[in-house]
């Protein structure tokens, strides 16, 4: 991940999935701080608080209580201040409609969470590698 990038936001309700992401990032020596929010609504209010620094990447789960990932995208991608932040969906859903809708809402990637941890690490490694090379909007 670019070192210019301040933080990564993880929107995820599952505790173990959160642990998995944290552990994988640590294992891969990704030093960017991780900002964890439990659902779309929390994420929106965090992002809209001027006191909080904007993340350079959002890892977004789809199936969450209160406000799911798709609903979050529908709101965030209409928000001038937020729509520029790249979002990578991290989900279990293989549903075609979820994929189509996510990309229509302008996500930068759509990843299926692998069932075993080593594969999960590989997935995070790829994300990290990509966003280390890719330029980010300022």
């Amino acid at each position: 991940m670019k070192t210019t990038c301040k933080s990564i936001m993880l929107v995820e309700d599952d505790q173990v999935d959160t642990m998995t992401v944290r552990r994988a990032l640590k294992e891969l020596h990704v030093t960017n701080p991780l900002q964890h929010l439990e659902n779309g609504e929390e994420a929106l209010s965090y992002l809209r608080n001027p006191a909080n620094p904007q993340p350079c990447l959002i890892l977004l789960d789809l199936n969450m209580p209160i406000m799911g990932g798709i609903e979050f995208l529908q709101i965030a991608k209409k928000d001038e201040a937020l729509k520029g932040i790249p979002v990578v969906v991290l989900t279990t859903s293989e549903e075609q409609e979820d994929k189509v809708e996510s990309f229509q809402l302008g996500v930068a990637g759509y990843m299926r969470k692998p069932v075993d941890y080593p594969n999960f690490v590989e997935m995070i490694r790829t994300i990290d590698a990509y966003w280390t090379i890719s330029e980010l909007p300022q």
């Binding site: 173990v16 999935d17 998995t20 199936n63 859903s93 293989e94 549903e95 069932v115 075993d116 941890y117």
Partner: protein, 535 residues
């Protein structure tokens, strides 16, 4: 030669070119008024030309009988109608011209008539019958004109045809009445003002009123509010504008019985004019049962839709909610191995390995369920699929080990279908063949033959083969023959293949010799793309 004698008793001798049918000796008594001839004129007329032509040209049978009831004269039409020859007429009695059952009465009547002779015109309302010489009867209208000296001129008109027409008419009207009376549907006629004119038995049963109770009453009493109040206005509107809302169209409305309960009906109204009156006929069909059946059906469909929706959600929930905890278990087991390795003994590590393996298996099962449920639920766009190309792709993807050779025989057809589905079919059949191959030199062959309306495909291997008793079982969901710990299999593959093939209207089966190998066959109708596209 004919002798005519009048009141005066003077005989006239008449020479005639025509012969009288009744014996000349019996003569013809003139009554001076006959046929408007004065006695002299008649005689004169007869002298000039026999007046018989007048009688003979009449269409009706005519005869003159004396006081004794014996025929004195008869015309040609009489002979034709009654079937007598000229020479048989002499002495024939009037009674012999009517059926025996009327004779006695006739004698009396004739006696009374002789006392009070009067003209009687035809069709005076009495049913009379004539008797022919051959014994057959016919309906007749008879007119009597008294002549002088007790002579009576009788004209007989055969009314058989009219009678038949009348009977046919009566029968037809009886039949029509019977139709109305026995109709299953209520038939109600009303006049222009909406007053009930007729009410058939079915209407009686349906509404609970007797005809007497409703005749002359406003038909709106058979309707619940608001139709009840609106009907007069509706009729008025129709009278004024001719605009039809129900007449000639028919629709479903609600009717009301005498006891106030309502029920759904199908009402068809037609307009008719009878004898200058405008009447409306309402045909009322009770559709209570149909409505109930419809409601039941709607409920069933709603339930079915609900169940279908639930199933769809179920698949979705399965993919999200079952997998998340499963993944967590997998990760945690993994971390235990990674972080706590020093604290675990071999047994502990083995347990954790088994946990991870079961997690993967369950993950595979869930994927299988999802895959299986997607077939038929999610439609792909149809495309021309070149099966030669598809097979190459599938074989590349499966990357069979070096000791297994896959050959594709001849040229495979190009079919219009859903590519993913047909790919799943070949992929599963081939991967099964590869997975279970137990020979040092594996041989798998894909073939296709033209079976008329179908394409028949086959995938043959020289693997372990499958006993006949298992041939049914292997196509069922989650059924496997090898223990899962030996060969990782979800038991979804063949069930999926069967579901896809059958969805396309094809069949799947296998032939196998245990130890030597198996051949899986499946057919696809050549016209398959069209039916699927339309469904």
């Amino acid at each position: 030669m004919l002798l005519i004698y009048g009141k005066s008793g003077i005989y006239k001798r008449i020479r005639s070119p025509l012969s009288w049918r009744i014996g000349a000796s019996r003569g013809f008594k003139n009554n001076d008024g006959l046929l408007g001839y004065r006695g002299k004129d008649l005689v004169k007329g007869l002298a000039e030309k026999d007046p018989r032509w007048l009688f003979d040209s009449a269409a009706d049978a005519m005869f003159i009988a004396g006081p004794d009831g014996r025929l004195l004269f008869a015309n040609r039409a009489f002979e034709t109608l009654f079937g007598y020859a000229t020479e048989e007429l002499s002495g024939l009695s009037v009674e012999s011209l009517i059926p025996p059952r009327f004779r006695q009465t006739h004698l009396t009547q004739r006696a009374q008539y002789a006392e009070h002779p009067a003209s009687r015109v035809m069709g005076a309302g009495i049913e009379l019958y004539g008797l022919r010489k051959d014994g057959s009867e016919f309906a007749a209208d008879v007119s009597l004109s008294p002549l002088e000296d007790g002579l009576v001129l009788t004209a007989v008109h055969d009314i058989t045809r009219r009678k038949r027409a009348e009977e046919a008419l009566a029968e037809q009207s009886a039949r029509l009445r019977a139709i109305v009376d026995t109709a299953v549907d209520a038939i109600i006629t009303i006049d222009e003002r909406g007053m009930i004119d007729s009410f058939n038995p079915a209407a009686e049963r349906l509404f609970g009123y007797t005809p007497a109770e409703v005749q002359g009453k406003n038909v709106s009493l058979l309707m619940p509010a608001p139709y009840h109040e609106e009907h007069d206005g509706y009729l008025q509107h129709y009278r004024d504008t001719g605009e039809k809302r129900i007449i000639g169209i028919g629709r479903e409305v609600v009717a009301q019985r005498k006891d106030g309960t309502t029920f759904p009906i199908e009402l068809a109204v037609s307009e008719m004019r009878v004898g200058g009156r405008r009447l409306f006929t309402g045909l009322v069909h009770d559709i209570t049962q149909r409505k109930q059946a419809e409601a039941r059906q709607e409920k069933l469909i709603r339930e079915l839709e609900g169940a279908n929706e639930e199933l769809k959600n179920f698949a979705y929930v399965v993919s999200h909610d079952l997998k998340a905890p499963l993944r967590a278990i997998g990760s945690l087991a993994d971390w235990l191995v990674a972080d706590q390795a020093a604290k675990l003994d071999d047994e502990g590590r083995e347990y954790l390995r088994l946990i991870t393996q079961r997690v993967r298996r369950l993950d595979g099962l869930i994927d299988g369920i999802l895959q299986y449920s997607r077939v038929g639920r999610i439609r792909e766009t149809l495309a021309e699929v070149d099966l030669n190309q598809l097979l190459r792709e599938v074989i590349d993807l499966l990357a069979p080990p070096a000791h297994i050779a896959i050959t594709v025989a001849g040229a495979l057809p190009t079919i219009k279908t859903e590519k993913t589905r047909i790919q799943q079919v070949f992929q599963n059949l081939l991967s099964n063949a590869i997975k279970y191959l137990d020979k040092p030199q594996g041989e798998i062959r894909v073939d296709c033959t033209d079976a008329g309306e179908d394409w028949e495909f086959s995938v043959r291997d020289n693997g372990p083969g499958i006993e006949v008793r298992h041939h049914k079982r292997i196509f069922q969901l989650f059924q496997t023959l090898a223990p899962r710990d030996k060969v990782e299999s979800t038991g979804v593959g063949l069930a999926l293949v069967k579901k896809i093939v059958e969805m396309y209207g094809g069949r799947i089966w296998l032939e196998s010799k245990p130890g030597e190998g198996s051949t899986f066959f499946f057919t696809l109708p050549k016209g398959v793309a069209i039916t699927i596209g339309e469904s």
